[in-house]
Symmetry: C2
Subunit: 742 residues, 2 copies
């Protein structure tokens, strides 16, 4: 049973959802000098007062890890984790029964969770993050908001307003440039509507589900793990609850992530949990498939789903893409598009939604050679890696050069390592705070049986560490599944060093007889026979000769074949190329999640004036690049305004004119709030020279320079593209001191 | 009942689908000189031979309109159309019964169709378009192809490959720049999943449907109008069919577009049409809703649909957008996103699909003032207008300055006229052939009752004139519908020239009593009372006083209200602003259709070598901007290749290296085929100078120049952005003559 976590790497193959309760999470908001003070003062971190109990906080605990006092407190917890990590390694080495290993893993996870919760709880209280204030800003300035609000809204659906749209479009454009253009990937754009057989083959129809329980009387649904968590938390906060029950509840909470339906049913029964709304009894946990069902065409019998991921569209186009690449491996295909997941009861804003934009790459490679020439370019790049080993040892994440990590086999291969490094570069480019980013390796029990290695890029937000990108080596599972379902070979040809003679044994169906014996199933049997390996055919032949009968099993059904049903064909062929099913390295990006993390990381308050909040975006992704503010409504300024607008349009720099009557300071505050990085002010000095001059104010530092209008477009476009930094502009152009009116 | 044609302007409000049978459509393929001849020879149009009967052809008949011989043949047909146009005007003026007018309209349409078919049939046979050749190229080089082909494919679903993806992305980027950025529009990005009540209010749940008939025995479905058309065409081609039946059939064909379910049932019964597959009897026409149904959440009782258009997402966000615009009108919001339509039996490739990308603008404006200051900028721009008047008169489309068309009230207002001009500019920018573009006005019976004017941008392709953009003045219908459904006022405030005293009469519900009398319906009654105008309340009061009873009708149900159920409140208020429901001007772009038309218009064959087909894209939208071709595999060329690649990357110009062993000529042909506008060749002369030099070949004309690598990036990026033309580059750099090897 898959969890509904959007990242398929974990979604498909694990029930582990990494999140922390908001109560014990802390975070630091960066405070920068207020307008009223001298600009360019070094930034300071001060504590905003807490106005409401409900404020969300989370610690930037990566920075705290090194503190000796904290480490001392964490040491016994780390040791406790390590004890079980060692135990598991030992059990595996001894070949202990699976049940013993599984039990130890449950205990290990409980200990890991206690360690991580404590790490966050120990972070200094004064470092805090005010999520309500950010949410207020995002709603008020229409970055995004709940969909269909005038109809009462729908949980898990969000509409992006002009600011959110532009931010998202800029992020996607950078993604396309960073990956598709720079790496020469083959982009595809496939449909969201997906026929059932495709998702049956991929495993989603059978296993892409969450457990839910229903109110026995009114049918209301709850996600089983959420219901247990909330019910236990209620118990823990109840003074009447006995110490023994509290201990039991805490124990369940710690182990909940590893529970299956039977475990959850046992807990619900033992604690006698009821519907939190009606108090009615609850059903046993029922599997609820998370795909949105629909039908194609008018007959109603062509079942389809909205795709839960874009990846399958790439796999079913593999043959065309390989051909497009002139038959050569390796190559990467990419897709930017919508995914849909019918969450049972989504919460957490943009983190868990029912319709979302994702960017996925499928890098097809020879399974026997996953080296990559361009890996050398990134080998020295340092990443914060939280390896499975670290997790088993209770050790903190470590900064390691990716070249070293691959050399030591911490990261499975160069291709995977390369994409992790490129992922890090992308997240830095759009403005994620590197100190709140780590790559966490999946534990072997979190991965599918066929996956070889998987590293999630996790970003620290006020919701805890959120997995925003999955980087997985998925071996050749998907291509093989689609081959089995369609009998269309999804393979590449690999030239052999020298030709070899190979003996083939094939079972050729006698269709006339098969049709007579098995009617409409004949085709299925033929396909199954075609897919047998030479070894399997030899075994079949042997049995058929001996018993004059062979029971062929197809999709769980048995067909009794007699020698007349088929011909065994044997031949030798000189083989120059070998057919291989490529392995797939799959980086998968959740754009909404990255965007939300980016909003948190960009959120600032002016020092001494915490009501003045703003967003310090990188110019590259800022929704609007410039504000244009006339100092007065006087008509004499119009020619300068027109010149500025024309200059900015010439360089395709977006701008927002604010010619309202507020003071220039208030207008700055308003444009700062939506993250406009550069404010262009037209004042009466603008007219004094020919050509006109204007000032540019850098929102983050509030420092200003003065320059000619004709230089504006190129400078802003250079600042946006990163060809120049603000400090370069400050060095080149005269400083402008804000007047008293600001 | 709406037709399923994707453009909502007509979809919602008309049954008229403009398409021609492929047999009598012709088109000209542009032929340009072949590689083997001298470059820069002027282009000539020559006739490709027809190899197959199935080849698709269509005439570029706009160019033929002026020919006197053709006009002479068309004159009687034009007169026949005009006769009925005049009759209808006359009937309307006399206030004749609706049924008489409707009958005349059916006859008018039949005559118009005959005229248009004849126009196309009269086009010279030697001008032809080979659609099969284009389709072969598009499939082979993976521009797009049927989705899930390895699973047998799904009709009406297409996947875009690397070339199609990039072409689409470039078109969308230009659209965003041309409209959202340049016009300062507010972009939104809403969900595809849409709850039922939203689409109930918009009218889609009840009326967004096509008529279908089912095979009585096996349930197979056919679109009723398609079945009739195909069945009659079969009859017409049958030698045994009597002349009388043929005449009857032709008559039905001409009138089919205006048929409702009863008309179609009558025809099916009269002709005794059966299922074309089984010969079984058919049901009466059944309405089939074209939206894809699904459910949100696990309970199964939250019905939803995939949106059939993006517009509703903008309307439900109107309040937020108005606020974002600081309460001011006019403003425009835009959305780029997916639409879904569950076509009964889609054909015609990208023209009619089940999932598609559309770009929609909703320009909100004071209904009493639709003037637009920036209209002056486009007033002189000439468009080919095919007005309702022209259509009624049987006259051809005319080239008119948009300023003149608005002044003469041919086009309803400046805002609508402005968007038509901007639409024309956009289509020209991406590469649509202006001679195959016209704006066709909807006849009054094609529009919804509330729509005020509508002009479709129609593009001539081998499928006939295809509506690719709708430009409609939709009045205030949608906002009012959502207000009725939600009781959330969707209005803007308009400042009055001076304050006025206004008398208000309101009916305030006595909820306690209403609840007692009408239980759960009380809330609905309250809402209905709140939405009454002062006049309506006064009338209600009068009746209530007289009869002590008032029958309030809500959603078709009657509620008997007594005086106790409500209080009438009267008061006078000084009003400074007036609340108005804005009108909406809606341009709606079908990107897939424009893209398909663009592919046809860009398709070329080399003169004298018609097997060598290629795509002459504008550099702005070309999927890949340059090819990079080393003249030999010799290692000495590697430093030049590297320098070229680095230079192109610095300017973000996409390129494709073709270092395969084919001759340079064959490699040129391969890159021409996918529309790469510039070919950069690295030869042994490249090494002879420092810095290195290379040649650039302009694919369309095959002329070449030689320049230094360091000048490459800026030149190509200028050519792509349109800052320089190829002729500028030819004037500046030395010409390079292709050597014998090419």
């Amino acid at each position: 049973m898959f969890s509904s976590c959007w990242l398929k790497s974990s979604v498909r193959y694990s029930r582990l959802i990494r999140q922390f309760s908001s109560e014990n999470s802390f975070f630091k908001v960066e405070l920068v000098p207020s307008d009223r003070k001298t600009p360019l003062q070094p930034r300071k971190v001060v504590a905003p007062r807490f106005e409401k109990k409900t404020r969300q906080k989370i610690s930037d605990y990566l920075k705290q890890m090194a503190t000796p006092e904290i480490e001392a407190k964490l040491a016994p917890l780390r040791a406790a984790v390590k004890e079980y990590g060692d135990l598991i390694r030992d059990l595996k080495a001894k070949g202990a029964p699976k049940i013993d290993i599984d039990k130890a893993v449950v205990e290990l996870k409980a200990r890991k969770r206690l360690l991580e919760d404590t790490e966050i709880a120990l972070a200094p209280k004064e470092a805090s993050f005010d999520r309500l204030k950010l949410e207020d800003l995002l709603k008020r300035r229409f970055f995004y908001d709940q969909s269909f609000a005038i109809y009462g809204g729908v949980t898990g659906l969000y509409d992006f307003g002009p600011m959110g749209c532009s931010l998202k479009a800029n992020m996607l454009q950078e993604w396309r440039k960073h990956f598709i253009l720079e790496e020469g990937m083959l982009e595809v754009d496939c449909t969201s509507l997906t026929p059932e057989p495709v998702l049956k083959a991929s495993g989603h129809v059978d296993r892409f589900a969450d457990w839910m329980v229903k109110d026995m009387k009114n049918g209301e649904c709850f996600r089983a793990d959420h219901l247990i968590k909330n019910s236990i938390e209620k118990l823990l906060n109840d003074k009447k609850t006995s110490a023994a029950v509290k201990q039991d509840g805490q124990d369940v909470l710690a182990r909940l992530e590893g529970f299956d339906n039977k475990d959850m049913h046992e807990v619900i029964t033992r604690f006698n949990f009821k519907s939190p709304i009606t108090g009615n009894d609850l059903t046993e946990p029922i599997a609820f498939n998370l795909m949105f069902p629909t039908q194609i065409g008018p007959t109603g019998d062509f079942k389809a789903f909205l795709r839960p991921e874009t990846a399958q569209g790439i796999f079913v186009n593999f043959k065309r893409l390989l051909e497009f690449n002139q038959g050569k491996l390796p190559f990467a295909a990419a897709q930017i598009g919508l995914g849909f997941r019918n969450e049972i009861s989504p919460r957490q804003g943009l983190i868990r939604v029912r319709e979302f934009t994702m960017c996925e790459i499928e890098h097809f490679v020879d399974p026997e050679d996953k080296s990559l020439a361009k890996f050398a370019k990134v080998a020295d790049q340092k990443l914060v890696l939280f390896s499975a080993c670290n997790q088993l040892d209770g050790a903190p994440a470590q900064e390691v050069a990716i070249g070293e990590a691959v050399a030591k086999k911490t990261v499975a291969n160069e291709t995977l390592g390369y994409y992790m490094a490129r992922c890090h570069q992308f997240l830095m480019k759009v403005g994620i705070d590197g100190r709140r980013l780590r790559f966490r390796q999946h534990l072997s029990n979190e991965m599918a049986h066929y996956a070889q290695d998987c590293w999630d890029a996790e970003i620290l937000t006020s919701y805890g560490w959120i997995e925003c990108v999955g980087n997985a080596d998925r071996a050749c599972y998907d291509l093989q599944q689609h081959y089995k379902a369609t009998n269309v070979k999804l393979v590449a040809e690999k030239k052999l060093p020298e030709p070899v003679d190979v003996n083939f044994v094939e079972a050729q169906a006698n269709m006339a007889l098969l049709g007579k014996s098995f009617k409409k199933d004949a085709k299925k049997i033929q396909t199954s026979l075609q897919q047998l390996t030479s070894e399997q055919v030899s075994a079949l032949e042997e049995e058929l000769l001996a018993k004059k009968l062979y029971n062929l099993s197809v999709d769980g059904q048995n067909y009794a074949l007699t020698p007349e049903h088929l011909n065994i064909k044997k031949y030798t062929k000189k083989i120059h190329v070998q057919e291989i099913t490529p392995s797939v390295i799959e980086p998968s990006y959740g754009i909404g999640r990255i965007m939300y993390a980016l909003l948190e990381h960009s959120f600032r308050q002016r020092e001494g004036d915490e009501q003045r909040t703003f967003l310090a975006f990188k110019p590259l992704v800022a929704p609007i690049k410039c504000s244009v503010l006339p100092i007065s409504a006087n008509d004499t300024l119009i020619p300068v305004m027109d010149a500025v607008k024309e200059e900015l349009s010439r360089f395709e720099m977006s701008y927002k004119v604010d010619d309202s009557s507020g003071t220039i300071g208030r207008r700055y505050a308003r444009t700062d709030e939506i993250g406009i990085p550069f404010g262009i002010t037209v004042d009466f000095d603008s007219l004094k020279t020919t050509p006109f001059t204007v000032t540019i104010r850098h929102a983050e530092t509030m420092s200003q320079i003065r320059l000619e209008v004709s230089e504006l477009g190129r400078l802003i476009s250079d600042l946006v593209a990163g060809r120049q930094q603000w400090s370069d502009a400050q060095a080149k152009y005269p400083k402008f001191e804000a007047s008293a009116t600001e």
